[in-house]
Amino acid sequence: MIAVHPVLLIAIPLFFAFLLPLIGLFSKKVLKYVVTGTIALNTIIALLVFREALNSPIFDILGGFKPPLGIVLMVGPLGGFIALIINMAGLIISIYGMEMKKEPLVKYYMLSLLLLMGANGMVLTGDLFNLFVFLEVTSIASYGLAAYNKDLKGFEGALKYVILGSIGSTFVLIGIALIYSQLRTLNMLDIATRLNEMDPYVKIVAFTSLFLGFGVEAEMFPLNTWVPETYDGAPHSVSAMFASMSAKAGIFALARVIFTIFAFTNYLWFVVIMGVLTVFFGEIIAYAQRDIKRMLAYSSIGQMGMILMGLGIGTTMAVEGAFFQMFSHAMAKALLFIAAGYMIYATQTEKMSEMKGIGRNPLIGIPLLIGILSILGMPPFIGFYGKFYILMGGFSEGYYAIIALFLAASLVEVAYYARFIKIAFEGGGKRYPSPKATVYIPLLLFAVIIVIFGVYPKPIFEILSHVTTFLTGGV
């Protein structure tokens, strides 16, 4: 018997999201605590679900229909892990979100809960169409949040996101339609077992459609064009959410398309190439940026490309690395976006060149350094293991040239982060207001996570040992 229903992970945020306007009628001040409390509750449930899933995959059947007809939530260890990451990141970001001042706050909190719910759903669901629905929920919440600042930048970013996002989801739907037309089923495991009944040409088209559709959310080149502007225009906490929640849900969906549904093995090199192209363009263009959030956004693209590369390499080691990287990137990039939010607030500008000495306050500087070093893949921070495992996995498959290209791109990454650190720690800057508790507590929390699991990564690796089943088409 299932002790905790994974569906709660979706239901709780949904319930509270629509409860918020009612609470808002009485008191606006409670809202933020309610949201944080909700996400905390969610995190606890995610933890419980995850512990459960470690033993055996959970199948939670919804609506009374039996699979393959009915909708099912299937939570493997990895899915539980990603859900936990998403909820944890969401929790910490929501602490930062407490300082949000701009009205309408109710809508902000509501949308962020919906975003969380959508991301959770994307990770947990075992039904292809359901996946699409949650993708759309996430997207709609994201569109709203992206334009939340209601300035030109925000709207422009949101517009780009809307256009690309809806084309992407159209592709997803096409893929679903094609699969359904051939197999008459939407359950992922069912599809996977009956895949060879499909006409190969239709299979290719379906795969391409799904790959591209989720690629938009997973920030794959060349579908990631919306990323910089949307991240740039959105409020800082929202950028952090995008990077650590919706992008992770997207890439996990992509991973499930690749491994669980299609179980590709012989054409994976194509994914590797897409991954390395993503890294390459992401990092190179990040170097050419002057604004901090844009730089972080492009860097995020690069990191997602690395994850994609790890998935594409497809050995146990590389995929373990990819999942580790999802974790580390969620933590580190959220940290950096929150730090960037503080910096923009303190300096009143987005230009990196005007942020002299912003990091000299240790409350900002130390988490900032830890985050950046983790992104750069330095041990003993969590960023290291993902990168190292992906690379070693790649080597064991003999992708020398691609890894050399990847390392060259990483060098560019080092260059622009070092450039930023140089400015941030330069002497002779102005005096900046010291950060509030809502800023430095999330920063320190993220930093502590980054260091603790960097020094003692064993629990994570134990979780990731389930990658083997995932690769062979399991949950």
Partner: protein, 112 residues
């Protein structure tokens, strides 16, 4: 043998993409998106179509009925499509308020 309604849906999608890429007016672009959506919905519906089948209403008198699942899917997809359209339009309104224009190049010029 590809039935013609597949062609129609493909045509709708292609036209939609063309509009999105080529037209400068934001409203038109959103109409393009909508057309794509419609095309896909049509595709879904047509997948479930069984020749001679009736509506899948469970009262026991029919042996031949169309696949009910795509219809359910399309219903959901339409709802989603509508809400996306609504959000997209609200974003367009926001852009219009900020720049006073609905033309994409003018908005971009405004930016600079």
């Amino acid at each position: 043998m590809i039935p013609y309604y597949y062609l129609a849906s493909v045509a709708l999608i292609v036209i939609g993409i063309y509009i999105v890429i080529a037209k400068k007016n934001l409203i038109k672009i959103i109409i393009g998106l909508d057309m794509m959506d419609t095309g896909v919905n049509l595709l879904l519906i047509s997948i479930g179509y069984v020749k001679g089948g009736t509506a899948p209403i469970e009262n026991g008198n029919y042996t031949l009925y169309v696949d009910p699942i795509p219809q359910a899917l399309v219903l959901t997809a339409i709802v989603i499509g509508v809400s996306v359209m609504a959000l997209a339009l609200s974003i367009v309104i926001g852009l219009y308020k900020n720049t006073g224009s609905l033309e994409l190049d003018e908005i971009r010029r405004e930016r600079k």
